[in-house]
């Protein structure tokens, strides 16, 4: 099994109140799966993704990727896992403002790749999202939707097995959204596993065999 979540719980404390952002969530996903996670604002979708991606440590339960528990390995191994296995698309802007598009794209490959290969791959992906002409622009010079697309392209740079996408098409117009979803389908058909968080009930329609999970107040329903 590629991804295995076992009764994971994450509790936040704010104003002395405990809030179970994710409450005993369990699910599995295999290579090539396309999982859509639907839920209202504040239902814990982002928290779930960051638990799966090894960004947040669960209070209870565990997440296994390739049968290895995220938090039972060293910081180094976990970092390598994030670097090699996962591509993360953030809900909000996640480009480093002081780096241009190309440099932002190259960041995941910063370790142990040739500059030349990096640039070539970055251009290919920018081509796919239709922003090849913005390679040298800085994030501040791009529109919100363009920044979002660069961030999407960056997630694919390391040829990840798993894409964790948080509202990837939230602020895109319909046409651009369809382009991105078509891109997702292509990668999905090549065996990439997707976990996509969205408000959009229709998002799954564009994909081959979507599976939908619903989140309500931290609880995951199949």
């Amino acid at each position: 099994m590629l991804i295995e979540c076992k009764r994971i719980t994450k509790t936040y404390r704010s104003d002395n109140k405990l809030l179970k952002a994710v409450d005993g969530a369990s699910f599995t996903a295999d290579k090539g799966d396309f999982v859509v996670i639907l839920g209202h604002s504040g239902s814990g979708k982002t928290t779930l993704l960051s638990l799966v991606g090894g960004l947040t440590r669960p209070d209870e339960g565990e997440v296994l990727i390739h049968n290895t528990s995220n938090w039972q390995q060293s910081d180094q191994a976990l970092s390598v896992m994030r670097n090699k296995t996962i591509g993360f698309i953030f809900q909000f802007a996640s480009l480093i403002p002081s780096l241009n598009v190309l440099e932002n794209m190259a960041l995941p490959l910063c370790f142990g790749h040739h500059q030349h290969d990096c640039t070539a791959l970055a251009y290919k992906l920018l081509e796919e999202i239709g922003l090849a002409d913005k390679a040298k622009a800085f994030p501040g010079q791009l529109s919100g939707g363009q920044q979002r697309r660069v961030a999407i392209a960056r997630a694919f740079m390391n040829k990840p097995e798993i894409i964790l996408a948080d509202e990837p098409t939230g602020d895109l117009d319909e046409e651009t959204e369809n382009d991105i979803l078509a891109m997702f389908r292509r990668y999905n058909e090549q065996g990439c596993t997707f976990l996509v968080v969205t408000h959009n009930n229709e998002l799954g329609v564009s994909q081959n065999n979507p599976r939908t999970l619903r989140m309500r107040q931290g609880v995951l329903h199949a």
């Binding site: 982002t46 993704l49 960051s50 991606g53 090894g54 960004l55 947040t56 910081d75 180094q76 976990l78 970092s79 390598v80 994030r82 670097n83 090699k84 993360f88 953030f90 809900q91 909000f92 996640s94 480093i96 403002p97 002081s98 780096l99 440099e103 960041l107 995941p108 910063c110 370790f111 142990g112 390391n158 948080d166």
Partner: protein, 393 residues
């Protein structure tokens, strides 16, 4: 940790410093200014010591002074005979060394009366004089640059009038000047022959202020000094090393005091740097979190901060040290000559030549780079442990 990865992190650090070049430049400038001051001090003290070493070359290895009731008094020339037979003594030369207070200029001059023809290295004296100077004959004197300026003596051949203890005037013709490069020792000096100085100070015949002992083998100075002290129990025997020590102490004390001020400045700067680095702004925080999501580990971020700190402090170190070297050797340590040589009424016009010694450079390096790194380690750590999910919401 692979080399390629380290190079990538280093590259990222350099890029980052360049992107924040205004901030980086500001820190480097302030830091190198502090280092410049500290290094200038260190170099100046070293150069002054070198100068003293060099100027003391021709001076006697041992000086003998007669003591009475703990105070110095004139020493009879007969004492020279008492030293006969001490093996290793090359020659003993009498000397009159005293201070002359000039009421009009309110300055103290050092009057030295020597029988330089009898001195083993009398020839070296010539090298300390400017061109055209002659060793003073009877009724003549050599003056240091400070004396010349203070008394506004026109040139060689001018007359110098000094008071004897009974207020009668003694006139001396200036036969030459010491070179400015020997100023540290000679600036306030009036050199004449033994008989003239005895006349000037009114010292009885058969007496001088001290005896200079020249030794054949410098390594035997201590042994010889001990033997002299044993034979002449009513004297103080001062080896040259002790004279050097005195000079060193004078410079050392001043230098030390100034160093403390400068260390305080460095400390203040480091605290400032720490303060600056610890107030992480949200952008920096976000950047670290994003790097972590993308696969950097805590150790990589720490490495990044380490490289940044090292580059900043090392650049400041290089810049500060080079400027200090230039300041001391080409500008004669113009900024703090008054503090370092102010012990003389007249300010010497010496030429400073700091020897570039590894030990000095290393001392400055270790006072600069490790403390800076240490001061930034806490903020670096705080930055490194930012969790990756800080970028998510």
């Amino acid at each position: 940790m692979s080399l390629a990865k380290q190079l990538n992190i280093l590259d990222y650090a350099l890029q980052g410093l360049w992107r924040r070049r205004l901030k980086t430049g500001g820190i480097v400038i302030i830091f190198s200014a502090v280092i410049f001051l500290a290094a200038s001090f260190q170099f100046t003290i070293k150069a002054l010591n070198n100068l003293v070493d060099q100027d003391l070359q021709a001076t006697p290895e041992i000086i003998i002074q007669k003591m009475s009731a703990g105070r110095q008094e004139s020493i009879p020339l007969d004492y020279i005979k008492k030293l006969k037979g001490i093996w290793g003594i090359r020659r003993v030369v009498p000397r009159i060394w005293g201070y002359y207070f000039d009421a009009t200029t309110k300055a103290n001059y050092t009057v030295i009366g020597l029988n330089y023809k009898k001195m083993p290295m009398g020839g070296l004296l010539d090298k300390a004089l400017i061109k055209g100077s002659l060793l003073p004959g009877s009724g003549e004197a050599l003056v240091g640059t400070g004396v010349k300026e203070a008394l506004r003596l026109p040139a060689k051949g001018a007359m110098l009038s000094l008071f004897r203890p009974d207020y009668s005037l003694k006139a001396l013709k200036v036969s030459g000047e010491f070179m400015p490069s020997t100023d540290i020792l000679t600036t306030d000096t009036i050199l004449m022959n033994l008989a003239d100085s005895r006349d000037l100070f009114g010292i009885k015949p058969g007496l001088v202020t001290d005896l200079c002992v020249y030794v054949a083998n410098p390594r035997e100075v201590t042994t010889i000094a001990r033997k002299i002290a044993a034979r002449l129990p009513d004297t103080r025997v001062v080896p040259k090393s002790q004279i050097k020590e005195t000079y060193r102490e004078v410079f050392g004390w001043r230098g030390g005091f100034a160093s403390i001020c400068l260390l305080t400045a460095i400390a203040a700067f480091i605290i400032f740097a720490w303060d600056k680095a610890s107030g992480m702004n949200p952008d920096e925080k976000r950047e670290v979190a994003i790097l972590k999501v993308i696969g950097w580990q805590t150790a990589d971020i720490l490495g990044l901060r380490f490289y940044e700190g090292f580059i900043v402090s090392f650049m400041s170190f290089l810049l500060g040290c080079s400027l200090a070297y230039a300041h001391v050797s080409f500008m004669g340590a113009g900024l703090f000559r008054p503090i370092l040589t102010g012990w003389s009424v007249i300010h010497p016009e010496m030429v400073l030549r700091p020897g570039l010694e590894f030990s000095d450079i290393f001392l400055i390096f270790s006072l600069v780079v490790p403390p800076y790194m240490a001061a930034t380690i806490v903020p670096a750590w705080r930055s490194a442990i930012i969790p990756p999910d800080a970028a998510v919401n």
